[in-house]
Symmetry: none
Subunit: 147 residues, 2 copies
Amino acid sequence: MKAFFGTFINKVDAKGRVSIPAPFRAVLQARGLASVALHPSLFETCLDGAGFDRFEDLERQISDSFTPTAGNEAAELIMGELRELPLDGDGRIVLPDEFIAKANLTDQAAFVGQGRKFQIWEPTALANLKKAKLQRVAASMKTEGQP
Amino acid sequence: MKAFFGTFINKVDAKGRVSIPAPFRAVLQARGLASVALHPSLFETCLDGAGFDRFEDLERQISDSFTPTAGNEAAELIMGELRELPLDGDGRIVLPDEFIAKANLTDQAAFVGQGRKFQIWEPTALANLKKAKLQRVAASMKTEGQP
DNA sequence: TGAATTCCCATGAGATACCATGAAAGTCTG
DNA sequence: CAGACTTTCATGGTATCTCATGGGAATTCA
């Protein structure tokens, strides 16, 4: 299946509109979707997005990484904030104000492909995150002695 | 299976276009691919490339959960920077500006075959790397007493 | 009716496809 | 064996098209 990958920075205009990067649109289109499902990440300052199909059996997927009760509650939290945003004729969505606030977005949004899903970050925050991740990877390679 | 090997230096033009060396194209073609998958190396000043098939299991390595810590962060970083670059009719790709910057490329790019994958280096940086590698090999032979 | 939202169109920049040139390697032929 | 021709490649330029983005009209909802 086609996946979301790569990073693309697009502008958020005064109306809260952003273009979904063309490669991401292609992934959605390949699945016959004309909308994006979005929700604020539970633990990170960003938005998680995918085709709506990803969230259809949310409870089952999420219970893998939490205890059963915590899993249910996590699913409830996500479901409560999940929005299905239709693409307009030009491939844009309108970000709800709460989402813009939660992800600290101003005038730019970085779309980061992560396989089955993608994330939307404020570009500077993304740069910091990448730096931190890289350091963790480097450190774990050192301790685990991998090349 | 055919492998990438040998080093080829090609020109990067003003638009960021480079010819993929013909032998590398042959490898791709043998697999039925008309594009190259590229990403900046995590720890080296170069680009890593291969057929897209090489990156397909990256998706599986990325945690499908909704926790930020559970996943393979190296896979997340690579997925976030991976690009699929189609070959034009003449066997060229156009390098995104960020890639050119990350690998310090100016007007030349050295393609280095490494079996399943290949790398793209700024030629001078590659020369320095080769020198350093050779010295390490020589040093280890001395300490291990091999001829 | 006023505000917000959705739809539609215009525009320019950037990306992609297409064509041309020229050098180098290889092949055929006399 | 030598010379001429052919083919493959790398590379440069140009035309065409896609995409991101801005503005405004139309529509909906309160």
